[in-house]
């Protein structure tokens, strides 16, 4: 009986969807590196880097890139090469505004920024999910070549957002493209 329990344990550990992370994280396929906070958990089954400390419904940081030509879920608008950061922000925010699962959507800030020396945008917004939980997000986005890169922090507005905002800022500061061309 014990033998079977050990076998199950090996399988469970080997396929763990979450692992603890911290320190430098390099994602060659998405062409970026970031410093991850100690003690956070990384989701291993998605395409983008997703980390959380208390669970994704309470707070998470997501980093990744998407092809400009990929269709967005809630708007038919698309990102394109040569877009001004303000135009890219508009597409990003309109996709959210057209998402019927997002309620009471409100843009608090939409400003130009430089991320790793590249011109982009920073959007801060709040919304409620269908269960009425008020969430606050920050999204940094910028276009390089055929890709839009995004660094997102999403947390319950009460308590959790402020708690980890400094950690998110450090992740953003540490963001680097592996190849810039």
């Amino acid at each position: 009986m014990k033998k079977y329990l050990y076998i199950i344990l090996i399988f469970v550990v080997g396929c763990a969807p979450w692992t603890q992370v911290g320190g430098l994280y390099k994602n060659e396929s998405h062409n970026f590196s970031v410093e991850l906070p100690q003690g956070w958990m990384k989701w291993n089954q998605g395409e983008h880097l997703l980390i959380t400390r208390d669970g994704v419904s309470l707070q998470y940081i997501q980093v990744g890139r998407t092809k400009l030509e990929d269709p967005l879920k809630h708007t038919k608008k698309k990102f394109s090469r040569g877009m001004l950061p303000q135009e890219a922000a508009e597409v990003y925010l309109d996709n959210l505004a057209s998402n019927s699962n997002i309620l009471n959507f409100e843009v608090i800030e939409n400003v130009p920024v430089a991320i790793n020396g590249i011109s982009g945008f920073k959007a801060v917004y709040t919304y409620k999910d269908k269960d009425g939980l008020k969430l606050k997000s920050i999204y940094y986005g910028f276009i390089v070549g055929d890709w839009i890169y995004g660094i997102c922090y999403n947390a319950a507005q009460r308590y959790y957002f402020d708690k980890d905002i400094n950690i998110f800022d450090k992740v953003v500061e540490s963001f680097k493209l592996i190849k810039t061309t």
Partner: protein
């Protein structure tokens, strides 16, 4: 022994069944126990909708829509059910009703209607869902089927997948073809009874069917109901050819209706633009301009549609529309911004700087001020946009 098992199974199925044959609430009827519970769920959902930020805020328009709804029902029914119409901000057209009397119509539907007669068709249809207790019928029907399925599954050794079959209200509101046909037939009777022109009944649905085909929309409405335009149009066409073949006139009230809903048309065009439905958004603005031909906001929105679509020749069209907006109201800020952004991207630095500075002088508190100041700096510094 085998027969006893079968008898027990039979009893279990039928003991769990409740009747779906219910009289309309136009008669003196009291709420049944399960109906009361269903109402409570819908009342909770109504509160959720009120707080969701989805409600389109226009008290005058709400009063107008409620007045039309009152014309459709006999006073006895209105004593039993307190019908109230609410508008929600959503670009894909739909309407639905709660058993409690709340009727929701979204800006997408309202903005595509041409007159009161078309609105009365939709309201009549939705009111029948309420007065004829379709939600309760659907609820009981689903429950009966679940009980039956549970028995069958029990008989075959498991109960998996049954729990939660009745969960969402959306399921309750997704009616069978039979109930929808009843809503079409009885709803049209209400609309004609109030003196409206039955020939208008099909027009909205035919228009929507065409629009959905053009835009290749397959999406369901976010509250889980589906408009089923094809089915509606066919039912009304059949009724017009048979029952109402001699009714070739009636009230339309196009002008009053358009005057009342003109703001919805423009606001919904903005929602369509956000959703990237450029052609539909443009159609919406054109419709609005046929009512309010000198509104700079509408010309500016046309400019935005072309600027954001940015296909061949679109930027020139955008500039024309921004210019038109400026010619109507030189102090309309967004038109100057639109012009400035196009000039900026085209490398026309002087023109861009002039337009963008004008925009900021008219709208000093603009949310995108930092972006604009950055563009102006680039125009001054010779940095390539």
């Amino acid at each position: 022994m085998r027969y006893i098992g079968l008898v027990l199974l039979f009893c279990f199925v039928f003991a769990g069944c409740v009747t779906t044959s219910l009289p309309p609430v136009t008669q003196d009827s009291r709420l049944e126990d399960d109906e009361t519970r269903l109402w409570l769920r819908f009342e909770e959902t109504e509160k959720w909708i009120q707080k969701s930020g989805l409600i389109y805020d226009d008290e005058g328009l709400e009063i107008y829509l409620n007045d039309i709804s009152q014309k459709l029902q006999p006073p006895d029914t209105l004593k039993n059910i307190s019908f109230r119409i609410k508008i929600i901000k959503y670009h894909l057209p739909n309407a639905f009703s709660f058993p409690t009397g709340l009727i929701i119509i979204d800006t997408g539907a309202l903005s595509r209607l041409e007159n009161e007669a078309q609105l009365a068709t939709i309201l009549g249809h939705e009111m029948i869902h309420t007065t004829h207790r379709h939600a309760l019928k659907k609820f009981r029907d689903t429950k009966n089927k679940s009980a039956f399925l549970a028995t069958i599954t029990y008989g075959t050794g498991g109960l998996g997948g049954i729990i939660g079959a009745l969960g969402a209200l959306a399921t309750v509101m997704s009616y069978s073809r039979e109930l929808e046909t009843e809503a079409d037939t009885e709803g049209l009777k209400l609309m004609v009874g109030a003196g409206y022109d039955p020939r208008e009944a099909t027009k909205f649905y035919l228009h929507m069917r065409k629009e959905y085909e053009e835009e290749k929309i397959k999406e369901e409405h976010f509250l889980g109901t589906h408009p089923r335009f094809q089915e509606r149009a066919e039912n009304y066409e059949n009724l017009l050819k048979t029952k109402y073949k001699d009714n070739q006139s009636g009230i339309q009230n196009s002008e009053i209706f358009k005057e009342k809903i003109h703001r919805v048309i423009l606001d919904n065009a903005s929602l369509d633009l956000k959703a990237g439905r450029f052609k539909i958004a443009e159609r919406g603005v054109d419709k609005y301009l046929s009512i309010k031909s000198t509104d700079p906001k509408a010309y500016c929105l046309l400019g935005e549609i072309y600027r954001q679509k940015a296909e061949k020749g679109d930027l020139e069209k955008a500039k024309e529309h921004y210019q038109k907006a400026i010619s109507i109201d030189p102090s309309y800020p967004d038109a100057h911004k639109g012009m400035g952004l196009i000039y900026f991207k085209q490398g026309e630095k002087e023109l861009a700087k002039k337009s963008l500075e004008l925009y900021l002088s008219i709208s000093p508190q603009a949310m995108d001020r930092i972006y604009i100041e950055e563009y102006i700096k680039q125009c001054q510094g010779g940095k390539k946009p």
